[in-house]
């Protein structure tokens, strides 16, 4: 009770400007990222002819679809309290698997998709075993898995980029090619929207419903919020952690499928940049609406924010090699919004 009285006195004493300052901080914490995104869109609309158009919107979404899907997977793992650093490598692995299945073994596009999803689930399960059963800290385990998979995908194709009709150093000619249906994932449109973008939209909505509206989402957040309390409330903590990693692996492999469909070859370096983008999107998501925790809406907003910024700046003549610098600065800014300025922090 004394505590409350103290707060009251403080409130009476603060000057008008400090009240305004406080309100401004609160506004920044809740709406900072959204407001900045809106300002950017308005500014680019004036500066870039044709920016405010449907085709620009789909182009931005298509450019970010791969990283955004990986980021949604990473968000699921982050909700149960762990960081999955293997999402980029898993996406890359899916590219290699797709190329192997279709180019080397000349199988169908559907087979390739199933194989990719399976590969993602297996990587997720390996992460889960390392972390939940063998008790390795999440960052270290997924880092180890990341390196292993990066090595694995090179080894699978002898360090070569698998392209249609190529001949291996041993003289073996690749019989197959990326099938038309597989290539259509990123290459064709439905109702004027690329299929890859539709996939992103559908997956985003599903992940949002899962986390915000289902009991499993509630339990995921409980595990991440306080695993001990969750267990003592009768929650099977380890099962949910395993589920989160498997789901993260599957989402990363969906990202990889889209990337493969875009590249139409088994590029061994594919997916390498996905990890950092996904981390940035997930963490920017912390700052959206002052959530201060991983959340699906935030991650998607983070993806859009980065997408708009990079697209606009590139159109204004910014060279591509400054992109990482910009992403890093945006990430730091959003971390300041969610951790340093937020007053929700319990001392």
């Amino acid at each position: 009770m004394r505590f409350q009285r103290k707060q009251f006195i403080v409130k009476v004493e603060v000057t008008r400007s400090r009240v305004l300052g406080h309100m401004f901080t609160e506004f920044l914490v809740r709406y900072g990222v959204l407001a900045m995104a809106l300002l950017l869109i308005i500014a680019f609309s004036f500066l870039i002819p044709g920016f405010a158009s449907f085709s620009t919107a789909t182009a931005i979404l298509q450019a970010q679809a791969v990283a955004a899907l990986a980021a949604l997977g990473m968000t699921l793992a982050a909700v149960v309290g762990d960081l999955d650093l293997s999402v980029g490598a898993t996406a890359g692995l899916a590219v290699t698997v797709a190329a192997l299945v279709m180019i080397r073994y000349n199988l169908t596009g559907i087979t390739a998709i199933v194989a990719c999803l399976l590969a993602g689930a297996i990587v997720g399960a390996i992460n889960a075993v390392l972390i939940v059963v063998l008790k390795i800290p999440d960052l270290l385990a997924t880092l180890g898995v990341m390196f292993t998979i990066m090595g694995l995908k090179k080894w699978l194709v002898d360090g070569q980029t698998l392209t249609t009709g190529m001949t291996l150093p041993g003289g073996e000619k690749m019989p197959g090619k990326f099938t038309d249906d597989f290539s259509a994932i990123d290459g064709s449109k439905l109702l004027g929207i690329p299929i890859s973008v539709l996939i992103l939209i559908v997956v985003s909505i599903l992940v949002w419903i899962f986390l915000e509206r289902t009991r499993f989402g509630r339990l995921f957040y409980a595990v991440g919020g306080n695993a001990v309390a969750a267990r003592l409330a009768g929650v099977r903590v380890n099962r949910y952690r395993v589920a989160a990693y498997v789901m993260s692996g599957i989402l990363a492999s969906i990202a990889g499928i889209i990337l493969a469909s875009r590249l139409r070859q088994g590029d061994v370096t594919a997916g390498d940049s996905v990890l950092l983008d996904a981390v940035a999107m997930t963490l920017i998501g912390f700052a959206v609406l002052g959530a201060r925790k991983p959340n699906a809406l935030g991650t998607v907003v983070g993806a859009l924010f980065i997408g708009v910024l990079l697209y606009g700046l590139t159109r204004l003549g910014l060279s591509y090699f400054t992109q990482d610098l910009i992403k890093g600065l945006v990430l730091l800014l959003s971390l300041i919004l969610s951790f340093s300025l937020s007053r929700k922090r319990v001392s």
């Binding site: 009770m1 004394r2 505590f3 409350q4 419903i209 509206r213 289902t214 009991r215 499993f216 509630r218 339990l219 957040y221 409980a222 919020g225 306080n226 001990v228 309390a229 969750a230 267990r231 003592l232 409330a233 009768g234 929650v235 099977r236 201060r292 925790k293 929700k344 319990v346």
Partner: protein, 513 residues
Amino acid sequence: MEHALELRGITKEFGPNRVLQGVGFTVRRGEIYSLMGANGAGKSTLIRVLSGAHSSDGGIVMVNGEVVTIHDPHSAQQLGIGTVQQNPNDGVVLDMTVAENLALDSFAGRRAGMMTSRKNTEARAREVAALLGLEVTPNFLRTTVRDLGVSERQLLVLARTLSLRPKILVLDEPTSALSGEEVARLFAIIRDLVSDGMSVLFVTHKIGEIAELADRVGVLRDGKMRGEFSKNAAGVFEWPEVLTELFDKTPSDLKHEEQAGGNEVVLISQARVFRDSEPFDLSLRDGEVTVLLGLLGSGKSELLEWIYGSRKIEGGSIVVNSEPLEISHPAQAVSRGIYLVPESRHEQSIIAGWSLDTIMTLPFVKKFSPLVLMNRRAERAAAREIINRIGVVAAGESVEIETLSGGNQQKVVIGRWLLEKPAFLLLDEPFRGVDINARFDIAETIRGVSQSAPVLVATSDIEEAMEVADRILVFNTGHVVADMRLSEATRERIVSAMSMHAHANRIHTADSN
């Protein structure tokens, strides 16, 4: 006369929680002063103030008659205050070797050189170990601390603290991880150091150790000093008086009619809590509240957690409603209607930032999600109903749980189990950090549940036990040493049952690691 350490009016608040409310006492030079207090009395906070981990909100600390300010752990060391924390892992670096740990403080010292060598390190480590009379082999010195048992870690921390040559040694429950022989050795060392002029503040709740070691004992309760005792003419403490201060509160009107008890619902047989404790049988009835009264380390929390499936003990079996209970996870207990309110609200019940209704429904999310989608409206309505029924003071079911007072938070984590019909309710220290009004409401709620199911309340506080119990079991060293109806129970009887066995009381975690 000049005192080694003097505290006056120390206060410390954490939000609305006034943990220390003007604590003052003195430790004379060359004296062993023992500070006693039940859980939540403020002992640990006081030690953190002395060791520089917390700063006090008010009051003064005097060392050798001079007022000092303890900014941080380093300034505490400079003032000659050496502290051994309760958890030995706070005082060692797990991934360093024994030698490196023992020599750590001399690495950090101002005179330390830039370079270290194994030879120097081990030589220094031997010096430090010698302070405790520890024999060290090169092999032991090269062992990683992670591979040591709790008791060995505890001794390392002690040796490290002593190597700083403190003038005032603060020990927080130093023996909880030590074996009998190690305790004897520790006590001999402490006596030696004291005869050389060191002063000791010895914090514990083990009567046997105080009787053996202390010159004076002070009792801390609810953040205030309740009394100080010296030995009588015969050279012993008047234990009944000390224990009365430890437990006594202003008389309250929380008396109740004793309930007669109904059917035997829970049968526990051959339960063995610790490796060297005697197995015991126990039956619990509905229609009454049974209190398990024992000090920390008596094994009462272990017993409750075992019943709930969140811990293994040495052996035993349970039958609830004529069906054997064979479970290994709390989820199975919850599905059988066996519910536990854990001891530590913050660590074990509350999820930061969650609203009252979601905290309440967490164990029963399935009930509130017919398919998979959560029915928020039903959740809120159910939470609101409980909030009104048990009188939670809150602005609504959607506010964050941390905005409530401790007592209301406790009501919420108890009230969650009323969303279903409990078959057996377990509560571990449900009155801790709870104000008097909330205590009354909680006791009412607990007694309400007991109408239809057995209720087992673990506590270390006699007054709380008398307030809520129909039957009191005094628990000690992992088994029941007294079983009485409320009408037969007097404070004197309980105190004598507790102090008679207090010497044997010890935490049995030393070998389990």
